[in-house]
Amino acid sequence: MADKNGFFDLSKTGLTSKTGLTRRTALKGLAAGAGLAVAPGFVRYSQAQSSAPIKIGFQSHRTGIGAAYGRWYEKTTAAAVKAINAAGGINGRQVEVIIEDDGTDPGRGAEVVGKFATQHKTDIVFGTLFSHVVIGSAPAAGENKMPYFVVSEGHHVASTKLNRYVFQPGITDVKSQIQSMAPWIAANAGKKVTQIFPDFAFGYDHRDYLPPALKAQGAEVIAQIAIPPTESSFTKYFPQIPAETEVIYHVMVGPAVLTFVKELGEFYGSNRPQLFGFIDSLEATDINSPGLEFLDGSHFWEGSPRYAQTDDSEAQKAYRAAVGIDDNGAAVGDPKDVSTAAHMFGCWETLYVVKKAMEDAGYKGPQDRAKLVEATEALTEFAEGPEHPQGPKTFNGKIHQCFGIQNISKIEGGKLKVVHKTKIEDGLYEAEGDYTTQAL
Amino acid sequence: MTPLLTTKGLSRNFGGLRAVDNVDFALMPGEIRAVIGPNGAGKTTFVSLVSGRIQPSSGMIVFDGADITSQPAYVRVRQGIAYTFQITSVFANLSAYDNVALPVQRTLSDGRSKGAVRAGVMSALDRTGLADRALMPAGQLSYGHQRLLEVAMGLALEPRLLILDEPTQGLADSEIDNFITLVREIAKNATVLLIEHNMPVVMQLADRITVFNAGKILAEGTPEAIRENAAVQEAYLGTAP
């Protein structure tokens, strides 16, 4: 089991155990089978605490297709909450996290938001990765006037199609990510690009935003191959890749991605075009898995680097220690348990944004949720540091979306090495709407 | 008088087997006709073709002057051809009442009043002597009563041609007597086509008898004529004294 000697071993986190997370709860969690399964929350605050804790409802992909992400989102969240509590909590109150499983299903996701609002009566809801769950849950958040902070990287929040209560302040949205990749691809990888992407929304963002971004850089997309989501083998689509392709831009996700890479390798052998991909494909997957040798020398987008880099900041090092990942981005003590490092930093950073906004708003309880929304909208930038270890960010309160730097990493010697960092400006685009005009 | 039912060159193959082979048959209105023959002679296949349960390989069926060869079974039932099954197939989980209500409610032309259904059902149950068992699930009736319920359902269709496929099979002797009376009564308003193994019943009821053998009509005539027919005796009666 992955958690055998992982996160709960406090001695390895480098933080003192003021939170009072007991060995007993940890064992209970293990007994329940999935590591963090203790109800109602995983933080036991000490009896001396006088004021009631701030309750954060955590909508997690514990089951369903997103479960690998869910587990690491929970670990990162636990680490951030522990750090926040150790430093005195928010407005002097401890933070308690209540987890509900959304099953990676939009219907269940909406129910879970309702449950947080009406049964657990949490102060906010904090959540989840998969876009359809976010979109499915957003109406419930709006109706319950429940601030809903997501770490999804989808463009849905910034598209202003959701509502005023939904925020994404901890991770850059995919439209911005794609846009900021284009200059590097055009300059370093090649001018004729073939895109392979899943035939659903995550893929459509890439389908729609990459071609104009590349065109602006003097490169072009010469073919787009959309793969149906039910597909489990890919070779039959490869003949559609034009022979003059210089770069294959691939963003496959889901458990079949290893097959995809392996089959691409069998198809091309050593005589392949340049490869550029989004690490989403290989989150929670060991880059040295059999069959992935083919990726050696190819490039990936990473939100936050999986492997420790030589120029890592102190904040980055502290963050990695707190979450419990080693230099290879795997769980401390279990090198096979690879994290979702490129995304999960967003949980850490989002919680610090929540902390900042609650402090700015003088947040006392659910009656102040509107104030919290306004205080969040008033934020403009987050400086790099322990609270934002991935890097500096700007925040656009009108579209509830943050924008940060992105990393392009090359696979070399079985590790991902950052070869390029984009600038925040590379990923900025014109706002598509304005949430602040909506009623609270 | 024109026949109620005629078949011309009616055939049905199952794989290589000609179960019904080029049969020309005519049935007069008001008649009680018995169809007899050894097992596998094609009797049940023949009436199944007439009732529309299976489609003929070739040939033609005319009912009341109209060609019904290509009509589906339910349309033939609506035109007045009722079929009661050889193997009892009442709706075991439904009450006797509901079993009979199904044919009654369909034949009712006004289709509205609940009273009419009830009256129709009870009349059919009365005629078959099942009135006091109306609310019992059909599956819990005795075998003989299930056979009678089957007849009651046929009756409730108000048929012009009632096809009875081995109706007395499994009945006790006393029940058979009642049954013979019942069929005579039915025959006042309807033509009856009867497949039967029980020779005394056939001899008592039938106006005419058709003998099947190997998918063909071997002989046809009055009970007396059939009794005397040497070919029939050889093919059939000889084997079943």
């Binding site: 089978g33 999935a34 109406p139 | 009450s95 359902m153």
Partner: protein, 320 residues
């Protein structure tokens, strides 16, 4: 179906409706919201039961009827700007049309072939939603905007996002479908459907056009499921392809089998049971699917006809 005890049956059903009405004022907020959702999904299960329970046709494609209602209503609001009642009717109409087409094709088969054919058509429907993603929102789905989700009666308007309005709307839909179901199964038509389930061949030989009767049942069933989907879109504000996936075809089957097939109240009981088992167990362990699985097996071992079906068999024979 029998002529006996109509008064008892109607009293029971009106009693259940009255109880659900009273519960609206007693339940804590969370369970109030949950029950509204359960009532809408119970309508889905009732629609499924109409075909599976009473006609004996096991479909594994009912998600497409639910989704037809969901998208029919949702897209009418989002893309065409229709009002809520018009969108609701549009959803039902979409479901009826889909059911008619699917019925005409799939009813050429019976038994397991019917099961597989409906499943495959539902898969096609699901893939079509993805294929026309620019219109449907694909797998991400779409939000039905909150301002559009109001019922306008002259000068007054009711916001469907208001918990009480939502609960009562769900209750009205549920009650209508429940009473319609009860009326159908007690009608002559209901008797014919059961006869088809019990012995289709025999029913034909009583002069019934079983194909048309079954087709009508598919359309009624599909329309009820579509009504549930349309209500779901309008009351909860989200349309998405996951509701068209095979999982949502299996769920109503499960709810109906749990509650008791061919019982009018079984679908509600089954949906309620399943929801509460998941809700309660997921509070204790993340491995709640394990408990759900064990619960299903125990239930089927000891209540093989479903909860209400077993009660009817053992104690209350008059239950419709």
């Amino acid at each position: 179906m029998s002529e006996a005890s109509p008064a008892k049956a109607y009293a029971l059903h009106l009693g259940v409706i009255a109880l659900l009405f009273v519960l609206s004022f007693l339940l804590p907020e969370y369970y109030h919201g949950l029950l509204a959702r359960i009532m809408v999904l119970a309508v889905f299960a009732m629609g499924y039961n109409m075909l599976f329970g009473y006609v004996g046709l096991l479909s594994l494609g009912h998600a497409m009827f639910f989704a037809a209602g969901l998208y029919g209503a949702g897209l009418a609001v989002i893309q065409l700007g229709w009002s809520v009642p018009a969108a609701f009717l549009c959803g039902i109409a979409c479901g009826a049309v889909v059911a008619l087409v699917i019925g005409l094709l799939a009813l050429r088969t019976t038994g397991v072939a019917f099961m597989i054919v409906t499943m495959m058509f539902a898969q096609v429907f699901y893939l079509l939603i993805l294929y026309f993603a620019s219109w449907t929102g694909g797998d991400q789905g779409m939000v039905v905007p909150q301002p559009a989700r109001v019922l306008v009666f002259g000068a007054t308007s009711l916001e469907l996002t208001n918990p009480t309005v939502r609960y009562m709307t769900a209750l009205v839909l549920f009650s209508i479908v429940l009473l319609v179901t009860l009326a159908i199964v007690r009608s002559r038509y209901g008797r014919v459907l059961v006869a088809i389930r019990e012995n289709e061949e025999r029913t034909k030989m009583l002069g019934y056009d079983t194909f048309s009767n079954k087709l009508a049942a598919v359309v009624v069933s599909g329309s009820i499921c579509a009504a549930s989907g349309a209500a779901y879109a309008l009351l909860f504000g989200y349309v998405g392809s996951s509701f068209a996936s095979v999982q949502y075809s299996i769920l109503p089957l499960l709810w109906v089998l749990l509650g008791g097939a061919a019982t009018t109240l079984g679908p509600l009981i089954g949906t309620l049971f399943m929801y509460y088992v998941i809700d309660i167990t997921s509070g204790y362990t993340s491995a709640y699917l394990l408990i759900v699985g064990i619960a299903l097996i125990l239930l089927v071992l000891f209540f093989p006809k479903g909860i209400l079906g077993s009660i009817r068999q053992r104690w209350l024979g008059w239950l419709p």
